[in-house]
C-alpha cells in the first residue's frame, strides 16, 4: 500500500516511544544493579540520565501535537497518537522511579551492608521483564499479550508484601539497620509502582489495538 505523508511521522513516533521505553527499562535495571552491587557510580549515572529521558518526553509530546495539528489523524492513526501521548508520561514517571531507587542506593551505600533479599531481586526481574514485554506488545499492537501482562502485576504485588514483611522484621530484630532498611522499603515500593505503570502502558496498548478502554474497568 502506498505510503501516506503521515506514515513516516507515525513510524518515527513509534520509534521514539520504543527508545524512551528502552531508556526507562535500562534505568530500572541499572538502578537495581547499583543496589545489588553497591555501585554508587552506577546509581549516579541513572540520575544523570534522567535528564535525557525528560528531553525525550518533551520531544515525543511535540511530535504528537504536530501530527494532530498537521494531519488530523483518525481511527487507528488517532488511537496511535493518543496512546503515545499518554504512554510517554507513564514511561517518564517510570524512569523517575528508577531515579528514586538510585537515590536510595546512594544512601544505602553509605551504610553497612544488609543481608540479601532474594524476593527483592525476583520483584525487580519481574518488573523489568513486564516492562520489556509491555513495550513489545505495544509495538506489535497485541492486545492479548497486553492483557496477560496486566495479570502478572499481581505477582509483583505479592512479592512486595513479602519483602515489606521481611524488612520490617529485620528492623525489629536489629534497629541499627533502620536507615538502610527504610530506604529498602522505598525501593520495594518504587518497584511495586513500576509494575502499576507497566499496567497503564498495557491498558493503552489494548486501546490502541482494539479501541477498548479497560482502565478502571473490572473486566479486563
Amino acid at each position: 500500500m502506498e505510503k501516506r505523508l503521515i506514515d513516516q511521522q507515525l513510524d518515527t513516533l513509534r520509534d521514539e516511544v520504543l527508545l524512551l521505553g528502552g531508556k526507562a527499562e535500562s534505568a530500572v535495571q541499572k538502578a537495581m544493579k547499583a543496589l545489588t552491587t553497591r555501585d554508587s557510580k552506577l546509581a549516579q549515572n541513572v540520575l544523570d540520565e534522567d535528564r535525557i529521558i525528560n528531553q525525550m518526553e518533551l520531544e515525543i509530546d511535540r511530535m504528537s501535537v504536530e501530527i494532530i495539528a498537521l494531519h488530523q489523524p483518525a481511527a487507528h492513526d488517532l488511537r496511535l497518537v493518543i496512546s503515545v501521548a499518554k504512554i510517554t508520561p507513564v514511561l517518564e514517571r517510570l524512569a523517575d522511579h528508577a531515579g528514586n531507587i538510585a537515590e536510595a542506593v546512594l544512601i544505602i551505600n553509605n551504610e553497612p551492608e544488609l543481608r540479601y533479599f532474594p524476593e527483592m531481586s525476583i520483584m525487580s526481574d519481574h518488573a523489568v521483564e513486564m516492562l520489556r514485554s509491555a513495550l513489545d506488545a505495544f509495538i506489535a499492537e497485541d492486545a492479548e499479550a497486553a492483557r496477560q501482562i496486566i495479570a502478572r502485576d499481581k505477582m509483583i504485588d505479592s512479592s512486595y508484601k513479602k519483602v515489606f514483611s521481611e524488612i520490617i522484621a529485620m528492623i525489629i530484630n536489629d534497629p541499627t539497620t533502620t536507615t538502610s532498611a527504610a530506604q529498602l522499603l522505598f525501593v520495594a515500593k518504587h518497584l511495586e509502582r513500576i509494575g502499576d505503570y507497566v499496567k497503564d502502558l498495557c491498558e493503552l496498548t489494548v486501546y490502541l489495538a482494539d479501541a477498548s478502554i479497560i482502565k478502571h474497568s473490572l473486566k479486563r
Partner: protein, 251 residues
Amino acid sequence: MIKISVSNLNFFYGKAQALFDISIDVLEKEVIAFIGPSGCGKSTFLRTLNRMNDTIPIARADGSVKIDGTDIYAPNTDVVALRRKVGMVFQKSNPFPKSIFDNVAYGIRINRIHKDKADLAVRVEKALYDAALWDEVKDRLQTSAFGLSGGQQQRLCIARALAVQPEVILMDEPASALDPIATQKIEELVVELKKKYTIVIVTHNMQQAARVSDRTAFFMLGKLVEVNPTQKMFTNPNEKLTEDYITGRFG
C-alpha cells in the same frame, strides 16, 4: 424516531447502476453525514431522498424510500409538496437574481404559505434569523442577493430552504466553496438547525463530517459500506475499507 427509511434502493442512470441495494434509516432531528470518494454515489443517493433525480430522463430507482412512513416513490406522490418538506441546499450557492427579501419570500409566495404581507415579512425574517443571516442583512433586505459574500449567499440559500418550513434539509457539500470562517458559520448553523430539522449532509471534508454529524455513512462504488455514530466512525470504524478511506489510504 425514524424520519426517513430507505430499503433495498437501487438506482440507475440508463443501464449504469449507480446505487446498489442501499438500506438505511435517518432519525428525526439528527445530522447524518454521507462521506465517500468522488463518484461513490453519495450525492446521487442524497437526491433520491427528495426525488431530485426525477429531472434526469434516464434515471430510474427501485426499492423504497419512506418519509414518515410514506413511500415517496409511490405514483400519487406530490413531488412539489415532497420537495417543500425535504429542502435542499447545493454546493454552489444559487440565489435568484432578486433582492435578499424576494429570494427568501419566493418559496413562501409560490406555495401560498403566508396569510398577508405582514405575515410574509415575519416569515422572511424568521427564516433569515434561523439561517443566522438576519443581523447581517436586516438593513439591506431590498438590495440584490448577488451583493452578499459567498458564505452569506449560501446562508441565504439555507434561509430560502427554511422559509417553506421543511422537515428535512439535504445539503450537498454546502461549504466546499467557502473560506474557513464562512465554513465555520455554516457548520455552527447545521448544529443549530438540528434542533428543529433532520439534516442529511454530503461532504468531502472528513473533519466537517466529524464536527457536525451525529452519525456518518460511508459510501463506496455505489454501496453503503458502513453507518455508525460519528465518534465511532472516526475512532474505531467497523470496516477496514472505512478505516482506509478516513485515514487517507485511498480516495
